[in-house]
Symmetry: C2
Subunit: 601 residues, 2 copies
Amino acid sequence: MAAEYVSLRNIKFLLHDVHGVSDLAQFPYYSEYDDESIDMIVDTIKELADTYFFPYLEECDRHGVTYENGTVKVHPQVLQVMKNLGENGWIGAAYSADVGGMQLPHMVAILLEYMFAAANNNLNGYPGLTAGAAGLVISFASDELKKTYVEKMLSGRWQGTMALTEPHAGSSLSDITTTASPNDDGSYQIKGTKTFISSGDYEGIENVVHLTLAKIEGAPAGVKGISLFVVPKKRPTANGKLEPNGVVTAGIFHKLGQKGYVTTQLSMGDDDDCRGWLVGKPHYGLAYMFQMMNASRISVGCNAAGIVSAAYHASLEYARDRIQGRRLNNKDLTVPQTEIINHPDIRRMLFMQKSISEGALSLVLQCTRYEDLHHVTDGEEKENNWLLLELLTPLVKTFPADVGMQAVSNGLQVLGGSGFCDDYPLEQYYRDIRIMSIYEGTTGIQSLDLLGRKMQIKEGKAFKLFLGEVQKTIGEAMAIADLQKHAEQLKSAVEKLVGVAKHLGKIAATGDIELSLADATLYQQMFSLVAVAWQWLKQGIAAHGALKHQSKAEDDLKFYQSKIQTLHYYYVYELPEIDRLAQTMTSGERLTVQGDMDLLV
Amino acid sequence: MAAEYVSLRNIKFLLHDVHGVSDLAQFPYYSEYDDESIDMIVDTIKELADTYFFPYLEECDRHGVTYENGTVKVHPQVLQVMKNLGENGWIGAAYSADVGGMQLPHMVAILLEYMFAAANNNLNGYPGLTAGAAGLVISFASDELKKTYVEKMLSGRWQGTMALTEPHAGSSLSDITTTASPNDDGSYQIKGTKTFISSGDYEGIENVVHLTLAKIEGAPAGVKGISLFVVPKKRPTANGKLEPNGVVTAGIFHKLGQKGYVTTQLSMGDDDDCRGWLVGKPHYGLAYMFQMMNASRISVGCNAAGIVSAAYHASLEYARDRIQGRRLNNKDLTVPQTEIINHPDIRRMLFMQKSISEGALSLVLQCTRYEDLHHVTDGEEKENNWLLLELLTPLVKTFPADVGMQAVSNGLQVLGGSGFCDDYPLEQYYRDIRIMSIYEGTTGIQSLDLLGRKMQIKEGKAFKLFLGEVQKTIGEAMAIADLQKHAEQLKSAVEKLVGVAKHLGKIAATGDIELSLADATLYQQMFSLVAVAWQWLKQGIAAHGALKHQSKAEDDLKFYQSKIQTLHYYYVYELPEIDRLAQTMTSGERLTVQGDMDLLV
């Protein structure tokens, strides 16, 4: 097992120096959170991760989930995590004080996900999903439902889930067929099958609360006929007891990774006695669910960023220790072998990981900053923050997952044959991170969301706002001699991004939507690379500022110089990829739309 | 389980139409092999793969290797494979008739590896390594050793291995410390630890023969002091029995993939009674071993290509069957959902897989064609074929492994959540292929071999020969109107490849070898992309020729058109990557050489 999985130094640098978290304290809602109290919380989160998560990483994988005679068993640490985080208020940390939350800025609350995922991504989904599901009840449900569910969930006694996918309807939610028929008592009879339900059931937890999408009889077709229900595994009775509610775990999935995180298939109402309680208004279910889906998308990206960090630290540690070969300018056999960190190819793989890991986390914090500002501002400012968050959500979900996967693969490669063996954690990280490109809408779906929806809302206002934000950063960097070159590179990259958008816009204007969106994934890749380049330039500016004005303690100097070095790496090795993507997208190729698929033999 | 894992149609097209395998029949050594007999052999290999390999893919993974009380147990099918292939002459298929082989061209013999790996890559290493180890005895050992070992190995009764790596000496073979001290009877006393030894031991096999690198007492330092020994697990006695030979299996590795293929750690001579027999001359061991290492490198690339093929076919099958969502130009909910193969993003992922799968196999056959021609030609022609093979070996090893890994990842992604679960084979392919970038010299090592050694031999003669070969193909393609554009693209790509080589050559000329080789992996990636582009242009030429002259049966038309379509995909979506690589390599960046590694925090 590696010694470290995140850098607290980096987290605090991003929070304070790059993303100015304490700005938020000027707003009454967040007024309790100054630099000092935030650092205390960050340190506490790390301690929680050290204590409740990291020591169980391997165990959760090796002694994963079992299913026998309808009973799901998970590692006992799942219950410990739910209990401890719940009792100490961490599950509801991001919610307002009036529902028992800590009113923590999202920028800080997301670090719970980040550090827990970095420490042990097999465990953090249980409290994470519970928080998200409770959030739907808090935001949209009746007071009665709130009273019944919220405290039980935020205290970790009841697990929460999101139950969307059905065997024939995954990416295509408009085609779900789970039904809801009104009962006399105001509840609904739920009937249907839900699949790939994370945290869906396990022995030892009091109850599981499924925030479930279903269609009320006679509802309109498609997404406009979807409603949201609370469907508990056990329903509370009038006398305060719990009784079975017709939710049966039909099976669990045997997975490549996250073997300690249960994924279930649920049958609801096979016995015609599964009751659900409507959340909010009928037919608004998908709109409500988007609150949780959007949060989950950021969370998935954040989980991926956490795994990338852990893999980076584990491979860095190995590269510093492992002695093998000699430097290429001195192959003298009488000279002892050297640590492999001295080989350029190993360094390249470490730099790549570091640049992706820290770039991704910075993008996560950027998104949650918009989320926080949206929460506390009004009028156009509020809308602008919302639009920026909406635009970046598909990027923050996919980049850490997709490019993160390659980063983890580089981490494994640093270890050579040992990376392929379970004596080191890299092979587990490699398996675990693979789901992140699939969870909560695959990369393909996210990319369509970006190009087909987010780029279009309010006639491209979100995109224009983004360009303005990046322009601000470029302007600041232009004033710093050492960063001018990179500022110009980013300027040119943004121009290319705009150019491709215009090119695709012209195709869309002809009415051939399919053709205009055919390379959406490539556009998302290009956009992500630019967005992360922006984050690195921001980090460069902050590091330069710190080198100029702050302490010259050796550790500080090293830290800030490492930021500039890694910024440099990203701009030379990673960003140029956008040229390839632009070249393909503007080639006029129609193969993936018009090619004959019978020819795929 | 998927229905198919390779395309026989594609294999025969590549063998006959692209690589003209029957040309070889003009040489007496291969005179038995005309088109017809080769097709019969190809069909037979497929039947062997269908019968002995494919049905056990999942089982070998799920019920992998165990080690208890010093005994290694593997899936019983391992013994069946060794017995059947051995008894029917397939293990020695590539060797000459005088040692009991079939004298099969390497172009055909490699298809044993290819189809077996595509069918079940957990099993084919056992006979594959046995063949390679026997080949060392055939090529370099004394008649007595040949008599003792060759027939036993080629008949599948004795397993063969290559025992190079030691715990402190993996990539750096010059640092091995296993010793060999002469005994009075001409044998040597062997002492040392060998690790990561594939096929190293298992219950039920009569004997295991380790082709072992060790240093004779007083040998020169480094690779010039390495000798090659036959070190059997059980040594043959004068009366024809077998007795223990001091080789102890200290443990096995628990791996991410290839869980049915045993990887052992061996202690030799802990009891001071482990005898080895010198192969050839003292201190020439590494030179001899390179015969097996070179073959193994092609074989690893071929294994990777096989897995990529299997993953492609499995995901294609899923994409044709799975119904989900509607086409983007028609989201009418009253229209039934469509097969996901109709979504552009899915098509892109399928095309990517197909272009990598078939491009990689074509490169494998190109290499083995040079191997065959080297075998039967003389003088400069022989040397030229050898140089071309040497140059392409690091590419054929890395491209199918590295880019193949991404292809398999795309295959998994096509299946969405199902790709992450073990109900489908994609997650296994994803795990299994990961080792191919590590086996037989990591990607980093191969890339140094390419740029630091192969590009330099005979003052760049190999590279010049390669450029000549590609020029020939470009010339042919220029004469075909439909291919002119791609011919020009390849011409430009080759110019860029030469340009970067010159740039790096200038750095090398300053004496800073480390800096000139720092981006060797990027150069290898660029070279690989160009080499595969060349293979696709060759396929395009062959397909065009066939469309013009051959049968117009619908199946044939479809097949040839699919080749042209995929060629097109590769040139638009994959080849442009070289620009990014060239940009980084010529940036003047020195970060991975001169960057301060203390800063990696």
